[in-house]
């Protein structure tokens, strides 16, 4: 809650804290092989803003371990998986969402899924920006699909810029340098060699961080051995929003590294330790940047990483505001408030993936005659099919790649780490110009695995989320977590503290941006948080 600047859905935070350990144990029972403590238990480590080392992990590839474990589990359980199938439309009936329409990437052929309930689990929006750690799939599809059927999105102004992305060479700019580097003791320095992070610690939390290099070093040693220590954590482990602003400021004020970042150094630790705990990072720098992280520093800078905002969901069930539609994971909003702490996404996926899946399945099977597929409105299906064919029939026209570049440029330039009204206004008008260009997009080639054609529908979604981010950012006239307004630098607890931004589609198709009161916090949590708010 403190890391999320008190904008989190308190019930989600509570469920996450309570249920994450069971989900981790479940993964272990399904075959996940976590790193161990000396007495043979699961080893835990902290990331930024954590007051307790609580991340079960596997070196720097915890996500891969989760993917593989869940994949194996799904295979063993006989779950149907439809690979490379992209959903472009949700189909609605009188009682909400009743199915989905999409195409197979490999053939381009259309497909419909009649469904009592639909769970969105489409991830984030990073592709809206030029510099991002995200894959190409992060085009906000679930956000836009939910929006298109009238579901509420919340907190869309909160886009997390991870402090450490690669900055050089140009082709890898934005690639993630995992927080595990700082979790294992990585030190940030500017071009003058200054360990600058301590200058940027928020005054009210300074007491949680090591005051000397020696204390920080003691903490690093203890935690790598899984030992308890009275040393406080290094200042590099401040929250991501704060570290990103610090790096940005160092670079902007002329203290950056040669390629516009700062230095991140882990080479003071024994090389074999670095290679064992950070094998992917070792390879990534060695192979893509000719840098040996066991002998010298990395160059890093902020990169678009995660969207805290998303589909407004019920904490217990993941149900959206539209019947039949659910959301879990990065596409859902509320859990992380104004800033996500490192590691909390993977556990969020497990806790709310399990809850949402169970709730959606229960809802789908609770109605009489549930085995009969719902009726899908032929007009909606036909229109979805026409939308799919249009860019191919158009043939030549607006180039989707050019539109993508222009969109990313607008978001990168005008809706980044620091925001200001004039920029956001300009972004809004730029975005409506880009939106007007979209219907004219034409693509060459056929339907078989045609990335240019596929991009058209991602752009449609990216235009929606970009507008939602920009308008929400314009509305919130304060700075909080990942949202920093140069023209409103203070956190306005009285005015904005209890309010989530809400974006929804008006019946006429225009975007409505309002606010709603934060869900009530339980007395227990209120007591726990005490002075924090």
């Amino acid at each position: 809650m403190v890391g999320g600047k008190l904008l989190n859905n308190a019930r989600m935070a509570e469920l996450h804290a309570r249920e994450a350990p069971d989900r981790v144990r479940e993964l272990e029972a399904w075959g996940a092989v976590f790193d161990r403590t000396r007495d043979g238990r699961i080893l835990q480590r902290p990331f930024g803003g954590h007051s307790h080392p609580r991340l079960a992990h596997v070196g720097d590839r915890t996500g891969l371990e989760m993917i593989r474990t869940l994949q194996d589990r799904a295979v063993a359980a006989g779950v149907d998986v439809f690979m490379e199938c992209t959903i472009t439309r949700l189909i609605t009936g009188a009682d909400g969402v009743v199915g989905a329409f999409g195409y197979w990437r490999t053939t381009g052929g259309p497909v419909v899924f009649p469904a009592k309930t639909v769970v969105l689990a489409t991830g984030g929006i990073g592709k809206a920006y030029t510099v991002t750690s995200n894959s190409w799939e992060y085009s906000g599809d679930g956000h836009a699909l939910a929006y298109s059927v009238g579901a509420d999105l919340i907190d869309m102004e909160f886009v997390q810029f991870h402090p450490t992305g690669m900055v050089w060479p140009p082709g890898v700019r934005g690639l993630l340098v995992t927080e595990a580097v700082r979790g294992e003791g990585g030190i940030l320095r500017n071009k003058d060699g200054e360990r600058f992070m301590s200058r940027y610690l928020p005054e009210d939390r300074r007491g949680e961080y090591a005051s000397t290099d020696e204390e920080a070093a003691r903490w690093v040693t203890a935690q790598s051995e899984g030992r308890v220590t009275d040393a406080r954590r290094p200042p590099e482990l401040s929250t991501r929003d704060n570290v990103s602003r610090a790096i940005y400021t160092e670079v902007r004020e002329g203290r950056g590294s040669p390629h516009g970042g700062v230095f991140l150094d882990i080479s003071y630790l024994p090389p074999e330790h670095v290679r064992r705990k950070l094998p992917s990072m070792y390879d990534q720098f060695k192979e893509l940047a000719d840098v040996d992280i066991t002998t010298g520093p990395m160059e890093v800078g902020p990169t678009t990483h995660y969207v805290m905002g998303g589909v407004r969901v019920d904490a217990e069930t993941g149900a959206s505001t539209v019947p039949g539609l659910y959301a879990a994971g990065e596409v859902a909003g509320g859990m992380h408030g104004a800033n996500r702490l490192g590691g909390n996404s993977l556990s969020d996926l497990l806790v709310f993936g399990q809850r949402t899946g169970a709730a959606a399945a229960a809802a789908a099977t609770s109605v009489a005659g549930w085995k009969k597929a719902p009726y899908l409105d032929p007009v909606q299906v036909r229109d979805a099919g026409r939308e799919l064919s249009a860019p191919l029939e158009q043939g030549s026209g607006e180039d989707p790649y050019a539109l993508q570049r222009d969109l990313q440029d607008v978001m990168q330039r005008l809706v980044g780490i620091f925001r200001v009204e004039a920029d956001l206004q300009e972004a809004t008008s730029e975005l409506s110009r880009l939106k007007a260009r979209w219907p004219a997009v034409g693509v060459r080639g056929g339907r078989t695995f045609n990335p240019g054609w596929n991009l058209v529908f991602e752009l449609r979604n990216l235009l929606v989320v970009s507008e939602a981010i920009t308008r929400s950012a314009l509305q919130r006239t304060e700075s909080r977590g990942a949202h920093s307004r140069i023209d409103h630098p203070e956190t306005d607890q009285a005015g904005w503290g209890g309010r989530n931004s809400v974006v929804r589609r008006r019946p006429d198709g225009s975007m409505e941006v309002t606010t709603t009161a934060l869900p009530e916090m339980s007395d227990e949590l209120r007591l726990l948080l005490g002075g924090a708010h």
Binding site: A29, W30, V33, D35, R36, R38, D39, L43, R61, R68, D72, V75, F82, W104, T106, G109, P110, V111, V112, P114, V131, S135, P169, P170, G171, V172, G174, D204, D241, N242, A246, V251, R252, E253, Q284, E287, L288, K371, K372, A373, P378, V381, R382, D383, P400, Y401, R405, Q412, V420, A422, R444, G446, R447, F449, N450, G452, I486, P489, T491, Q493
Partner: protein, 373 residues
């Protein structure tokens, strides 16, 4: 109050840090890429592109540049661009590689760089192949089987007990090892062979400190572990640097040999009566040399709408072929002109070292394999 710290002077406009696009002005030279184009049923060709080269550029950057500058429909499967997802595998100058970590600076730019799809799998289009066979093989492996009688709260093992298993679990399923493996590559389909990727997966399960299943009969009779003749081509192309042959395949071969050629083992197995009898674990799917024809339904919106109308509810998702691909696919376009990654294979064979030492025995947690105990 929670402090945020704006830049020292408050500017009227924020200022973005630099972006990532390839900047032709910064480009230092030009690379010529020869890219395989085509899909089953159409004649294939190689298109040539002159791509501006910037420092640190990889083959995938060049392919993206091509998509944005003249060939927007160039089919490339990719995802993370960080060598973590394993989707951008292709053959670069005949060598199975992840295009996202193959640097242009590793090539002589006076010569064209040839990029082709993985040859072992059926072609979809251009650089994209159908790797779904691999997922079917995966399904045939008996999953992780912890002991039923030890509560999870009592599970304990040391980091050193799992170092090897963790090495195997680094696999990102790029299938380059499957692509380079000559048993699979030459489509010797009369030999059922699961390929290096799934021997690694099986080894990860077999060597898990508490796994109870015995996959040796499966490995021998279904997985075909004996067909691997240790050329180590797989190890050579693995982007995760997994020592596939030495650490996974050879130890599995030894376990299988112990089990089947040791009379005591054999008698013990008979006594225990263990066999692997799950129905889908008795055979491997056949790896198609060419793409299979799709059902040829013209997916007009009207037909689709009818198909999902009230009278004929669709219980299963409908997979309809697009007009452009509705003719049954002919033999894919591989053929003579495609360069031969067998070169890699041969080179590797020549350098194949002595057999690795016997695998460390798995910690004894109630495992019923006496000769390993």
């Amino acid at each position: 109050m929670i402090e945020t710290r704006p830049p020292a002077e408050v500017p009227a406009r924020a200022e973005a840090l630099p972006g990532a696009a390839i900047d032709e002005a910064r480009a230092s030279s030009v690379a010529k890429l020869r890219v395989f184009r085509g899909e089953p049923g159409t004649p294939s060709r190689y298109d040539e592109f002159d791509v501006p080269v910037e420092e640190g550029m990889v083959v995938l950057d060049a392919l993206h540049w091509i998509q944005g500058n003249g060939a927007p429909d160039l089919a490339v499967r990719w995802n993370c661009k960080a060598a973590k997802c394993g989707s951008c595998g292709a053959e670069v100058n005949g060598r199975p590689s992840l295009t996202c970590k193959t640097r242009l600076s590793d090539f002589d730019l006076d010569e064209p760089i040839t990029v082709e799809p993985m040859r072992t799998f059926p072609l979809v289009r251009d650089l994209v192949t159908d790797v779904s066979w691999n997922y079917e093989v995966n399904r045939s492996i008996e999953p992780f089987s912890p002991p039923a009688d030890v509560p999870q709260s009592d599970w304990r093992w040391q980091q050193e007990d799992i170092e090897r298993v963790q090495e195997f679990r680094k696999c990102i399923e790029c299938f380059l090892c499957q692509d380079v493996c000559h048993v699979l590559r030459n489509h010797e389909t009369e030999r059922p062979f699961m390929g290096p990727r799934f021997l690694v997966r099986a080894a990860g399960l077999e060597m898990h400190p508490i796994d109870q299943a015995d996959r040796r009969p499966y490995l021998k009779d279904v997985g075909g572990v004996g067909y691997c003749n240790i050329t180590k081509c797989c190890t050579e192309v693995c982007p995760e640097h997994i020592k596939i042959t030495d650490n996974a395949i050879i130890p599995l071969k030894e376990r299988v040999a112990d089990e089947f050629y040791d009379p005591i083992q054999w008698a013990w197995r008979k006594l225990r009566g263990r066999s692997d009898s799950a129905p889908d674990r008795r055979s491997l799917p056949v790896l198609q040399a060419g793409r299979q024809a799709e059902p040829s339904i013209e997916p007009t919106p009207e037909r689709l709408a009818r198909a999902v109308g009230e009278d004929s509810p669709v219980a299963e998702p409908m997979h309809a072929a697009a007009p452009t691909t509705s003719t049954p696919a002919a033999e894919p376009t591989p053929a003579a002109e495609r360069t031969d990654a067998g070169k890699v294979a041969k080179a590797a064979r020549a350098t194949a070292g002595p057999r690795a030492k016997r695998a460390r025995r798995r910690p004894d947690t109630g495992d019923e394999t006496p000769s390993e105990g």
